[in-house]
Symmetry: C2
Subunit: 349 residues, 2 copies
C-alpha cells in the first residue's frame, strides 16, 4: 500500500466512521437525529414516507478499473434518489452500508464518501446512518433512501389507464453506450501502461454511465404544471422492461413509436460505430435513470410544453398487448431483455 | 446442483422475487404499500420514525458450513429489530437486499427467506421491499429496519447521568461461547463425512449464537412499569464496548461489578472447558443482543422487580473513568476489545 495511505486497521471501524461522518450536517427538518446511535430518528407527521434500497456489488454493478470512487459514490446515492422521485416523492435521508476489502485505504473510502456527500448536498439529502464492515471479497455498497410525498400525490406503477399518454424524460440508451465504450477502452488498454482512452466526441456517453443524475427537475416541473402522473417508474433496467412492468401492474397494453424515442446523437453515432441496433439499445439499455410516466390524454398540451419531456406513445386496453410501432408501421411486441443482474456470473471464490 | 433444485437463472430475478414475496401479508397500519414498486410507502403521522441498517457478509459475519440458512435469515432480521428496540422503539417494517452467488438455488433462498419471514411474523414486522442481485462471491445480506417510537420516549446513547443505575437484560457471553463451540466442532469435523457434532449440555450456547432473540419483552415490561431509560444500546459488540459508547456520548464515567454480571452456567462451563477467562468473554463477547440501559436511581426498586433485568453498576462523573470492580475489589479500566468486524481479513479474490 502507498506510504501516504492510511490502512483502515490503523484507525479501526469507529475511527473510520468518525473520519467519514464528523463533518456531516443535516438540512432537513424531518431529520431529528443522524449518525451516532443505534438508529436514525426521523419525523414525518404530514406526509407519506417512501423507502427504497439498492445493493451494489463490485464485479456485478461496477468495475473499479474504470469507475473512479468518487463517481461511484455519487452514482450509488443518485440511483436511490431516482427511486424516490419515481414515486413522485422527494428524497430526504439515506443510510450507507459499506463492505470494504483489504485493498482499500481510509483515503479510498473517503473518496467514495465524497461522492456520496456531493450527491446529498446537490439533492438536499441527509446522510443519517449506516454500517461499515470488512469484506473478504470486493466492495459492497448498500444504500437505503427515505423520502416523502403528499399522500394524495404518491404515484405507483399500477395506475395507467387506457388512452393515457406515455411520456419519458431526457434521452435513452446513452448510459448503455457509455458502458460499451468504457468496456472497449478497458479491453484496448489491457496490459498497456499510460494508455490514454479515446473518449473525444463521446463525453456525454461516459458521463451518462459514470455520473447519472436523478430527474428532480422533472418532478418539480410536473408539480408546477399541476400534473400528477397516473403511473411512473425510473428507467433503470431499460424502457421495454419498465413499460412492461407498468402495463402488467396496471392491466393495460401500450403502443410506443420508434420515431418518438428520444436518442442523443452521440448515442446514435456510437451504435453505428459498434454496429449495434440503435433502437434495441434505447429500448433495452439500462441505467438511464430517466422518468417514464403516464398522464391522462387531456394533459397533452401541458406536458408537451415542459422541456425535456417527450410523449412516446399511449396506453391501450390489455388485449392489445405491448408493442413498438416501427418507422415503417410494423408492430413489434415489446420484450423485457433489460439488464439482468441475476444472469449467472462466474464465482471467483 | 441437485436435480430437485431450481437454478435461479431458470426463473430470473423477477421470477425469484415473485416466489419469495407472493405470500407476503402486512399487519401494520403504518404500511401503506409493500413490495412491487420503486419504493415502499409508509405512514407515521403520530410517532418518530426510527431507521437502522446492517450489512452481513459471508465469511465475515457468518459461516454457512455450520449456520443453517433459515437460522441465518431469522438472525439477520432479529439483529435489526434489536437496534430499533435499543432506542425504545417498535420495529414495523424491513427491507431485505440479497447478493446471491451461483451456488445458491431458488430453494436455498426460500429457506433463508423463511427464517426472515418467521422473525417478521413473531415480532409483528412487515417485509416491504428490497433488492435482489447476483454476487460474484459469497452471500450478501443487507437489511434495513424501520420502526416507531413516541417522540418523548426515544432513548439515545447520550442521556446517562451521574448516579444512574446501569442495567442489563438476560445474560452475557453465551453467544460468543456458542461461536467458539461451533468453530471447534467445525475444526473437529474437517474432512469427516457424517461427523456428529457434540452439543450436549451446550444447547443454550448454540441457540444464542444461531438464533438470538431481540428483547421486545423487556421494552414492553419497562413501558408497563412506566420506566423510560435515560440511555440505552443493544449489546452487539460486547458489554465493555457498549458501556464505553454510552459513557463517551453521555460524558460520564461508570463502575460495573464483576459479581453482578449475569452469566449462564453453560457459558461458565464452556469457558472453563476452553480455558478462557469468563469475565473477559462476558465483557467482550459480541452478539448477545441484550439491552444495556441506564435508569435514574429512584427507579431501583421498580426495575429490580422486572424478571430478566439486572442492575450491574452505576454511572459516575466523567473524571472517574470507566472501570470494572472485580470480586476482590480491584478496579480495572474497561477496554473496548469488542467484536472488530473491521479487523483485516484475507481477501480471497
Amino acid at each position: 500500500m502507498d506510504q501516504k495511505l492510511t490502512e483502515i486497521s490503523q484507525i479501526g471501524e469507529f475511527g473510520l466512521i468518525d473520519r467519514l461522518t464528523s463533518d456531516l450536517k443535516t438540512v432537513n427538518e424531518s431529520t431529528l437525529r443522524s449518525v451516532g446511535d443505534d438508529c436514525a430518528v426521523l419525523s414525518y407527521p404530514k406526509t407519506d414516507v417512501l423507502v427504497s434500497t439498492d445493493l451494489l456489488l463490485e464485479g456485478v454493478h461496477f468495475d473499479l478499473t474504470y469507475v473512479p470512487l468518487k463517481h461511484l459514490g455519487y452514482k450509488s446515492a443518485v440511483v436511490n434518489f431516482s427511486d424516490i422521485y419515481a414515486m413522485n416523492g422527494r428524497p430526504r435521508q439515506i443510510t450507507v452500508s459499506l463492505g470494504i476489502s483489504k485493498r482499500f485505504a481510509v483515503e479510498h473510502i473517503e473518496e467514495l464518501y465524497s461522492g456520496i456527500k456531493l450527491a446529498c448536498q446537490i439533492y438536499g439529502v441527509d446522510l443519517v446512518g449506516g454500517d461499515t464492515t470488512s469484506s473478504r471479497q470486493g466492495l459492497v455498497i448498500s444504500i437505503t433512501a427515505i423520502g416523502e410525498a403528499e399522500h394524495s400525490k404518491v404515484v405507483s406503477r399500477d395506475g395507467a389507464k387506457d388512452t393515457d399518454l406515455i411520456c419519458v424524460s431526457g434521452d435513452l440508451g446513452a448510459a448503455y453506450m457509455g458502458l460499451q465504450l468504457l468496456e472497449r477502452e478497458k479491453f484496448a488498454s489491457a496490459g498497456q501502461k499510460d494508455f490514454q482512452p479515446d473518449f473525444s466526441g463521446k463525453e456525454y456517453l461516459v458521463e451518462r454511465q459514470l455520473k447519472p443524475e436523478a430527474r428532480k427537475d422533472i418532478i418539480e416541473e410536473l408539480d408546477k404544471a399541476g400534473i400528477v402522473p397516473t403511473s411512473m417508474m425510473d428507467v433503470s433496467d431499460g424502457l421495454s422492461s419498465e413499460l412492461l412492468h407498468i402495463c402488467k401492474q396496471s392491466n393495460t397494453g401500450c403502443r410506443v413509436y420508434e420515431d418518438r424515442i428520444p436518442i442523443d446523437y452521440q448515442t446514435a453515432l456510437m451504435a453505428e460505430e459498434l454496429n449495434m441496433n440503435l433502437v434495441t439499445a434505447a429500448l433495452n439499455g439500462g441505467e438511464d435513470y430517466e422518468l417514464l410516466f403516464t398522464v391522462p390524454l387531456h394533459c397533452h398540451d401541458n406536458v408537451s410544453k415542459i422541456p425535456g419531456i417527450k410523449v412516446i406513445g399511449h396506453i391501450t386496453k390489455p388485449d392489445l398487448g405491448c408493442a413498438l410501432i416501427t418507422r415503417d408501421g410494423t408492430e413489434i411486441p415489446l420484450k423485457a431483455q433489460g439488464f439482468n443482474h441475476m444472469a449467472p456470473v462466474e464465482e471467483t471464490k
